[in-house]
């Protein structure tokens, strides 16, 4: 029993080391005075100040965030309506076909999605830039939202929808007053998922971005190709800390909302 525990702990420890070592290595060298990734010669914050003074980089960060926000917002709306559409399809066969069509988009490689979008935009003569990237991001985010929203739709008690109709609610009122409030958690997680996917995306963006517009991922890639600069390490460290804070924030928020629910329940009893 204790032997087993020891081994499983050791295994977990090893896995996490494997996962986090490159990141910590990267962060460590963001403080390197030496300017290369070879030897750690001394501590400095110089690279961080370069990042903060690099106005082009700051602008790209803002652009990337804006893109993520817009694309996840729009895809949340479209994806939610799509999920509701799939939910309401009466024929089980058709429903399965639609669902699988959705999942295929989800698992198909970014490279294929990116290149097909590039092809499409070129054929119709669409100018590559912010809008083309936005459209592509919306497109690959919709299946994610659909996938996140569907489970919370399935959880809705069908007789609750009957009850709403029975009480005089028309189709739109049922959607607005009953369905949406009940699937809000699903929509929110779909939104956050789409947001992170958009922030994350390199391949699709790389294909459809034009000369004028770029995102952080593409920018880091092109800088890394040009040669190692520890400025990128500093930027990555900042991003890592930001996502760490995001995860922590999300964790405490979920604990808080769970506690609020318990308090409510306590009052009711």
């Amino acid at each position: 029993m204790t032997e087993k525990m020891k081994w499983s702990k050791l295994y977990l420890f090893f896995v996490f080391i494997l996962l986090y070592t490159p990141i910590f290595y990267l962060i460590l060298f963001s403080f390197n005075e030496g300017g290369t990734m070879n030897h750690f010669t001394g501590f400095t914050l110089e690279h961080y100040s370069t990042v903060l003074q690099d106005s082009r980089l700051i602008q790209i960060v803002v652009q990337t965030l804006l893109l993520a926000l817009l694309s996840s917002l729009i895809s949340s709306i479209i994806g939610t309506l799509g999920a509701i559409g799939i939910y309401y399809v009466k024929n089980v066969r058709t429903q399965e076909v639609l669902l699988n069509a959705n999942n295929i988009l989800l698992v198909s490689p970014d490279v294929i999605i990116g290149s097909s979008f590039l092809l499409l935009f070129t054929i119709v003569g669409f100018q590559l830039g912010f809008v083309s990237v936005l459209l592509a991001h919306i497109a690959f985010s919709i299946p994610i939202v659909v996938l996140m929203v569907l489970p919370s739709l399935e959880e809705i008690n069908p007789s609750m929808l009957k009850a709403a109709e029975d009480l005089g609610a028309n189709g739109f009122q049922i959607l607005w007053h009953v369905i949406l409030p009940n699937i809000l958690p699903g929509i929110l997680s779909g939104f956050f998922m789409a947001f992170t996917y958009s922030l994350d995306d390199f391949a699709v963006t790389f294909f459809v971005t034009g000369n004028g517009f770029t995102t952080l991922a593409v920018e880091i890639y092109s800088r890394a190709r040009r040669g190692v600069s520890l400025e990128i390490n500093a930027l990555s460290a900042l991003l890592f800390i930001a996502s760490l804070l995001l995860v922590l924030g999300y964790y405490y928020l979920s604990i808080y909302s769970r506690r609020m629910k318990k308090v409510k329940r306590g009052v009711a009893e």
Partner: protein
Amino acid sequence: MTETIVTFEKVRKEYDESTVLKEVSFQLEKGKFYTLLGPSGCGKTTILNLIAGFTEATVGNVLIDGKKVNEIPAHKRKVNTVFQDYALFPHMNVFDNVAFGLRMKKTPKAEIKTKVEEALGMVRLKEFANRSIVGMSGGQKQRVAIARALVNEPEVLLLDEPLSALDLKLRTDMQYELSELQKRLGITFLFVTHDQEEALAMSDEIFVMQDGAIVQKGTPNDIYDEPLNRYVAEFIGESNIVEGHMVSDYRVAFAGYEFDCIDGGIPSSETIDVIIRPEDLEITSADKGKFVAKVDTQLFRGVHYEIILYDQEGNEWMVHSTKKAKEGSTVGIDFDGASIHVMRKNESEADFYKRLDTYTEILEG
């Protein structure tokens, strides 16, 4: 002076290949308490769905207030439903749940407040207005569901097994409350249950269902005392049902003897079912009874003893008696001829009631 509120005209309902309702016809009058009674799967919910508008009749017409409503969607019918699983909105508190119907109809705010408070008062939940639905007990949720339906002042309230999820004590309490509420409001209630005691206790009229058809309609007394056939008799309560045959009008043979009875209009020597309720039988000494039987087992049921006996033909008899019997002893069983009820096999409800009318009159006259 009775007004019809709901009418079914030869309504059939089919799903794909299977027929769920076969030519059901009935009328509901204003202000009465009706019960659909039948085992699970016999089509009770389907009838409610047809009235509420959740499903459409394959053939036949559904009329509400004299108007054909086959094509009118559920949200436009002045009918409300109390669902078996309550179907409350978990994201709203008690007040908002009850106010839902009025809000959908864009009722003025002040009016909503008074009406909701009144409805909550009716189900004794006034202090609960701001509580969350989550964490309420089954009985409380049930009452919220009733208030939510009643606040819309429907002409018909449909209740689909609303008490089946409650424990026995609460169920009995709610039976009283519901029946009192119905009398006070004068709204037509159509109540669905598979529990015969519930049906007998609350209804003005009971429709007994079997396999997508209504087999017998009548008051609780009618159905208890004069069940149409073995199915209804067995469904509606504990009874002794034995096979026998008619000797002549008002003369029936079973358990190896002939007895006087009050049934007639049946060809002599036709094989029939005879039913006598356990509480109509009395145990006496072997020489005094109408026939003799041997005591097999007995159980103490609180109010009475439930005694099981076998007659000389091997028929099982159940007697409810306040006195104890001796197991293994041979006793006499006595009863009044009027407590015998004779049922023809495969008689239609119409023929049954016609025969009953004719022959009871002759006896009384």
